[in-house]
């Protein structure tokens, strides 16, 4: 079970990774879409927690690109914006959106629900 967290807010994403680690969920971090793609080229991630708005590659584009390499990868979007700019013809009915600031328990629960608790290891 591999998780990658992508957000341009470095401190935030590092802190989140640490908190997840404390709860037994090991996650890699990337500070941009490009970095995330680089990491994804080397590792097979099961789940990506993506910020929607990032400089360069946005969350939606990143999801699309990740899915090109790993079609079964699941995505959870995290956004500080109230609105979601649903661009193009992408279907977002299956996507999960969480608002900042995150409630860690909600995030963990969402992760479990998305990929199934049997795939995660709890402390």
């Amino acid at each position: 079970m591999k998780i990658i967290l992508v957000d341009d807010e470095k401190k935030f994403i590092n802190m989140l990774a640490k908190r997840l680690a404390l709860r037994g969920l090991q996650a890699d971090v990337a500070y941009s879409g490009e970095q995330a793609l680089e990491k994804a080229a080397k590792t097979h991630y099961d789940l990506a927690v993506l910020d929607l708005k990032m400089p360069g590659i946005s969350g939606f584009v990143l999801k699309k690109k990740l899915q090109e390499s790993w079609p079964r990868i699941k995505c959870i979007f995290v956004t500080g914006h109230g609105s979601i700019d649903k661009n193009g013809d992408q279907d977002h009915s299956e996507d999960i959106f969480l608002a900042k600031p995150l409630d860690i328990d909600t995030l963990i629960e969402t992760i479990h629900r998305t990929i199934g608790p049997e795939n995660t290891r709890r402390p």
Partner: protein
């Protein structure tokens, strides 16, 4: 913030009369005083449409009156003139007969009573109207007499007519009674006998004959024809002034040789129009004035009746026109008012929307900027707490834990505020897609699963099987349901119930019912729950924006929201949404 203006759906008559001043709407109204516009429009319409009618009527009446008056004058003049000619002819004929006799016959023949009687008989036969005939010498003694009265030997020296007849060749007297006490006229002709002495041939005329002549000109009962003398004394009976010899008290008209007509100065229709003529023969001026009186009202009767009928018709027409003008003005001004009101309301709404949009965008900008540092505070504080939580030796430091919890609670509260502020932005941008309401509700309930289990809340969903997927904005509908369900969860105490029902009763819309067994809303608060920043949950971190946003979102989705609540029993929110949302230009 500004409340939603009410749109006037009911286009009642006279709405403008009951217009209430609204400070918010006033600046958007094109006109302010509809009452005065109404009155002015009625006056202008009435004046422009009725004045030509009234003017034409007045001119018409004046012309009719003038022509009737002219006709009346002509008619009276004709009658007077004809009657005058007859009377003059009557007198002239007889005077000329006497003149012929004195010139033709010698004096001795005239003073022969038998011969005189024969002459009288011939005169009666030839002309008629003669009563007697006599010869009077210059001393006033009657020399010869022929007639029914025994007047022979009478002396007329003291009689005024005798004096006058001795002074001129021909004389016609007024009507008088004389010795015999019968009204008569004397015609006298002066002549000279062979000895050069003046004598007079006098004839007495029967007034009846004259009266008959006059009466023959009386065309109707309303015409009064009579003779009076130069002092105003009646010489023949008059219908209006009475018997013969009665003083008429009329002003004796100015002397004229022609026939004249006097129009009464009094404009009343009961006045008399008077034709008069002095009777003047070629040989002598008689003491008679012929008068013809016609009552104007009777002569003009037909015309006056026609005028009255005409006035009635005009009056009724004016009344009908006034009613129509009033109705039309009222209708038009009301339409104008309603259009203006609708325009003002639309403009106010647009202004409010724009204001809201500005506030929303500003709020969203701030909220977004705050969200990132907030997220960092949240994670940092959370991590610190985690450190204490997961490292057992620090676990008992309650003071640190309490403070961290306080930070996290504050962050959570800020998060709620920013997420609701962000909700404002979402009101202004609609993206329509097909939404399965059942899936949406299930998804939302999933978020509350933990709370449901923790509080022991019994949740039921009943979705009518024929509920179609609706075309609406998914995000907004999600927000609406999330807000309402959140509200319900906050209201419900442990072991309460939350029932969500979706029904499709009408083909063009669906109704979502969210019913909780919570604390309910007091009646006085029910009206205010949609007002922004109205909150009763200050202690529970309410911002007062939730229902206000929900209300705005439902309206944005072209739906309606209604609430029923009783305190202590529970609350039901009814959200009605169209099955197919119409695209509209975003504000």
């Amino acid at each position: 913030m500004i409340g939603k203006p009410q749109i006037l759906h009911k286009q009642e008559w006279l709405a403008f009369l009951f217009h209430r001043h609204d400070a918010h709407l006033a600046s958007f109204h094109t006109f302010s005083n509809y009452r005065s516009i109404w009155i002015i429009s009625i006056i202008i319409l009435a004046v422009t449409s009725l004045s030509p009618l009234v003017m034409a009527t007045l001119i018409n009446q004046r012309l009719i009156r003038q022509s009737v008056d002219a006709e009346l004058v002509l008619q009276t003049e004709r009658v007077t003139s004809n009657a005058k000619r007859s009377v003059r002819f009557f007198l002239e004929e007889r005077l000329n007969a006497l003149r012929f006799i004195v010139n033709e016959l010698p004096y001795y023949a005239l003073i022969d009573n038998e011969h005189l009687a024969e002459i009288l008989s011939n005169l009666k036969l030839g002309f008629g109207g003669f009563t007697d005939l006599s010869i009077i010498d210059a001393d006033g003694s009657q020399v010869a007499y022929a007639g029914p009265f025994n007047l022979e030997g009478k002396n007329y020296k003291t009689q005024p007519w005798f004096t006058k007849s001795l002074q001129r060749d021909n004389f016609i007297s007024e009507v008088f009674t004389g010795y015999r006490d019968v009204p008569h006229i004397i015609i006298a002709v002066r002549s000279m006998n062979a000895l050069g002495r003046l004598f007079i041939l006098r004839a007495t005329l029967d007034t009846q004959r004259l009266m008959d002549t006059l009466l023959s000109y009386k065309t109707n009962v309303h015409t009064d024809i009579f003779l009076m003398n130069h002092t105003g004394l009646l010489q023949t009976p008059s219908k209006n002034y009475g018997k013969i010899f009665t003083p008429t008290r009329l002003d004796v008209p100015e002397f004229s040789t022609t026939t004249n007509v006097i129009m009464p100065e009094n404009k009343s229709d009961h006045a008399f129009i008077t034709g008069y003529s002095y009777i003047i023969t070629e040989a002598v001026t008689t003491p008679f004035i012929l008068l013809v009186n016609k009552e104007k009202s009777v002569v003009m009767g037909t015309w006056l009746n026609l005028g009255k009928t005409f006035n009635w018709i005009i009056g009724i027409s004016c009344l009908v026109m006034m009613i129509i003008i009033t109705l039309v003005s009222t209708f038009m001004v009301n339409k104008l008012y309603l259009a203006d009101k609708t325009k003002a309301e639309t403009m106010l709404r647009m202004e409010q929307s724009q204001q809201l949009a500005c506030i929303g965008q500003l709020s969203a900008g701030i909220a977004h900027e705050i969200n990132n540092p907030l997220a960092l505070i949240n994670e940092t504080a959370g991590y610190l707490k985690d450190l204490y939580h997961f490292t057992e030796e620090e676990q008992n430091d309650e003071e640190v834990m309490e403070n961290l919890d306080a930070i996290l609670e504050a962050v959570s509260r800020c998060g709620t505020i920013t997420s609701q502020l962000l909700g404002f932005v979402r009101q202004f941008d609609v993206q329509i897609s097909r939404v399965d309401v059942e899936k949406l509700i299930t998804g939302i309930l999933r978020f509350h699963k933990k709370e449901t289990e923790y509080k022991g809340i019994h949740v039921t969903t009943a979705i009518s099987p024929d509920t179609p997927a609706i075309e609406t904005d998914r995000g907004k509908l999600q927000q609406i349901l999330l807000n309402l369900i959140n509200n319900a969860f906050q209201a419900i105490e442990a072991n309460g119930c939350l029932d969500i029902t979706v029904s499709h009763l009408r083909p063009d819309n669906i109704t979502i019912e969210i019913k909780d067994t919570g604390c309910g809303i007091p009646a006085e608060n029910l009206k205010r729950i949609h007002e922004p920043f109205f909150s009763t949950k200050k202690e529970k971190m309410g911002t007062g924006l939730g229902l206000s946003i929900t209300y705005g979102l439902v309206k944005k989705l072209q739906g309606n929201i209604r609430v029923e609540s009783s305190e202590g029993v529970g609350t039901i929110f009814f959200v009605t949404l169209p099955v197919k949302m119409q695209k509209e230009e975003s504000a």
